[in-house]
Symmetry: C2
Subunit: 338 residues, 2 copies
């Protein structure tokens, strides 16, 4: 009796009827088949618009062999490094009609055990793992998977695309050495990338005949960790004139510690970060950092995915992109070259 009851949502049947064609023709138009006459196509498109029709993704997924969507697993929305990755992925995937679905590891923890399960339930056509892969990540063989941004892939059959953290750390360190710094400290944290960066730091320091001093905060790589680590470093090794942090966030903490200790940046202390995240280019930080080329990582990941989706099984590949030093205002030659 209520006139406002929600009408059943239109289906291809309704569209077909309204356009005076068969259901299959509608399906063909939907997927942009070239073998549909212009007249019919416009008729169908018209009917769709009139009825405010939306294709049912569920029905399409169920009937078809493919969902045309790639699942991206990220760690934490606050870690902005994935933003550029997504952009690169998106640009590489869109031309192939592939869409992206993003899932945060922590977010749906209660509903699904792991975002991976959600994506597998969804029958995604491919997966990008933008977190540190854990042993528990079992994916059905044959599903295209690329691990992005992390080299320690333990996902069987997955391609790996990442930046060369060790090289990046060397670039950062050599930049500081080149400026004349000798008391250079490194702020490290947990995780594989941090370890590789610490190794690169140690290598570059050794090559320059300098003693590498590496200090950690509370084990993670947050701003707080950077602050804590920097305080420790500056207090125990006051001769330090430059700091290389495992990432931009930690570098931010180092900046705070420097300010508190009355050290001006870059005059009294040089600071380098890693990632070239959005905060690095702010007026406030003007942080010299290492661009890990996340957009390119995304682009390469997209390429791999597309190749695997279309093609026959191929051996897994690993691509290591060369990071790039981005010099901004947080580094300078030390005051006195002692």
């Amino acid at each position: 009796m209520t006139g406002t009851e929600a009408r059943r949502r239109p289906t291809i049947y309704d569209v077909a009827e309204a356009a005076g064609v068969s259901k299959s023709l509608v399906s063909l138009v939907l997927r942009g088949s070239p073998s549909v006459s212009e007249a019919r196509r416009t008729a169908v498109l018209d009917a769709m618009a009139r009825l405010d029709y939306r294709p049912s993704q569920a029905a399409a997924a169920l009937a078809g062999a493919t969902t045309r969507t790639i699942g991206v697993v990220i760690d934490d929305y606050r870690n902005l490094w994935f933003v550029e990755l997504l952009r690169g992925l998106q640009e590489g995937l869109a031309p192939h009609g592939l869409r992206i679905a993003v899932a945060d590891h922590t977010l749906n923890a209660h509903v699904e055990a792991h975002p991976l399960d959600g994506f597998l339930s969804m029958r995604v056509d491919g997966l990008v793992i933008a977190t540190e892969p854990t042993g528990a990540m079992r994916v059905p063989e044959g599903l295209p998977v690329v691990v992005a941004g992390h080299r320690e892939g333990v996902v069987p059959g997955a391609d790996v695309v990442a930046n060369d953290d060790r090289l990046g750390a060397r670039l950062a360190t050599e930049h500081l050495v080149g400026l004349g710094h000798r008391g250079i400290g490194h702020l490290t944290g947990g995780g594989g990338a941090a370890r590789l960066r610490a190794e690169g730091f140690a290598e570059a320091m050794a090559a320059a005949g300098l003693e590498p001093r590496t200090v950690a905060g509370d084990g993670a790589t947050t701003e707080e960790d950077g602050y804590v680590a920097a305080v420790r470093l500056l207090d125990t090794a006051p001769e330090t004139t430059a700091v290389f942090a495992a990432n931009d966030t930690m570098a931010m903490g180092a900046l705070a510690a420097a300010g508190e200790r009355g050290r001006r940046v870059p005059q009294d202390l040089s600071v380098v970060g890693y990632d070239d995240s959005p905060i690095a280019s702010t007026h406030l930080l003007q942080l010299t950092t290492v661009d890990s080329r996340n957009a390119e990582i995304g682009a390469v990941a997209a390429e791999r995915l597309v190749a695997r989706i279309g093609g026959s099984p191929a051996p897994e590949t690993a691509v290591l992109l060369d990071p790039q030093l981005v010099v901004r205002g947080s580094t300078a030659a030390p005051r006195s070259t002692a």
Copy 2:
């Protein structure tokens, strides 16, 4: 002939057979029906584990009346205000077995016209619009929708949950007035929230008998805009001793401008932001700000959604949460109370 060809993924049929029951029973177990004997249930669960079975979301969505997922539309992954919103949403939704799908406005722009279309195609059970609603947002009537964080809802039938921006701006301004500041400037930007905050600022200044000075950057609310606006303010009105920025990001820009002009914060210049975003609580900023209570906004949004999904149609509601001032280290009494 190749032994490694990907086996067909198991379905309820396979599970049913392996467990020696009917398909329907498997379905019942899947959705936790209480009317299944313990013996059968464990048998089914066992079979699922053995076969590494994953229910097909597509099939479930197609057959069932509901998808148990809520679509959340956000603007830009870089704007971290949505992170807490998601947390609140998640906590409110998970107990009801509802999952969250997040879509960035800009991301799938090429594939789908609007994330909204994607969600409608997906047949979500509800929608959270965490962007400034535009006129083009037509959603099927009967679909639960809540606009979160923005008051200027033009989505018909949608509930609105937001913080009271005008009040928050008054709190921030009154805090500065209370500290003894008289030369207080406001950095504003584009968008509805910024406008409301500017109005609240003007109100509080008028109430204190002070002249409100409001300046914009390049029209947006980025760090760059904050920097530009603050430079303008400090250069044209050097008597300014306090700045209230439309958000934390702009405040960050103001901090940079202050530093450049040789103004120490908070001794020479007090700065207040808005949003209590993750950057505000860093050691580097220690920003006094206004907590817009995004987690609570998410919680209320979840509540509304759940009520609408379960219940009968109800008139649309609008909830305005009271924001809270968070005093940190970026504000202090002015040097000389002139």
